[in-house]
Symmetry: C2
Subunit: 118 residues, 2 copies
Amino acid sequence: MDYEIERCEDNHQHTKFVEQIRQTMPSEERLYDLAELFQVFSDSTRIKILFVLFRSEMCVCDIANSLNMTQSAISHQLRVLKQMRLVKNRKEGKTVFYSLADDHIVTILGQGMEHILE
Amino acid sequence: MDYEIERCEDNHQHTKFVEQIRQTMPSEERLYDLAELFQVFSDSTRIKILFVLFRSEMCVCDIANSLNMTQSAISHQLRVLKQMRLVKNRKEGKTVFYSLADDHIVTILGQGMEHILE
DNA sequence: TAAATATATGAACAATTATTCAAATGTTCA
DNA sequence: TGAACATTTGAATAATTGTTCATATATTTA
């Protein structure tokens, strides 16, 4: 991934900032991880699941019922949420209860909601 | 989009919560908007652009230089960012300067960063 | 006006992704 | 053990998306 650099004229802020920016920018890997995290929030089914779990831990089947979706679709999405450590689960017999993993989730969704309501 | 509802047994929290959840859940439209907002954060090029703009307003060409990407790719992404009101711009001659639209962006990216660093 | 520069846009392609369907795994209980 | 239930998983499909390339629109200046 090596792109051609087209240089713009020096009356822009180019020379001032470009070097600084390259130094303070988080690493490619972190930027990628960050994008991957937000990707998880970028699907309304997953957001619904998170909203459901705001209220209480819940089993897959009840989440599916609440959202009027198939249990398979929910299970697939819970897997994604779990991989990104947004939810955790505990097993009780045949039932698996999912719950929110931490507080960043509430903050992030809250800030997002504020933004779209402005 | 009408799915079959498979009911699970009553020993689950089903009957207690499903109705409440359906009432307190934000509307389909808002959930969709929210997902669409996070979608914008879900690409590392766009995140890079936002990080660049943390420091200062900047023209398209300089952003492209900073990120070693083509002006066209950046312009396409700036359009997406603008549509979601994450950046604003002002024109000065042939040059267009972009800057962050508000503070939610910093908070959201900050919380996201905290989450992945844990 | 013509040439040069900065940005925007449309079409096309490759890559990614959400859901469905079918089947597998694991658990309870008769 | 076998039937019923809760969940997970894999493959397939349709839809979405980021970048490139070519071109268009402004704007400045010679």
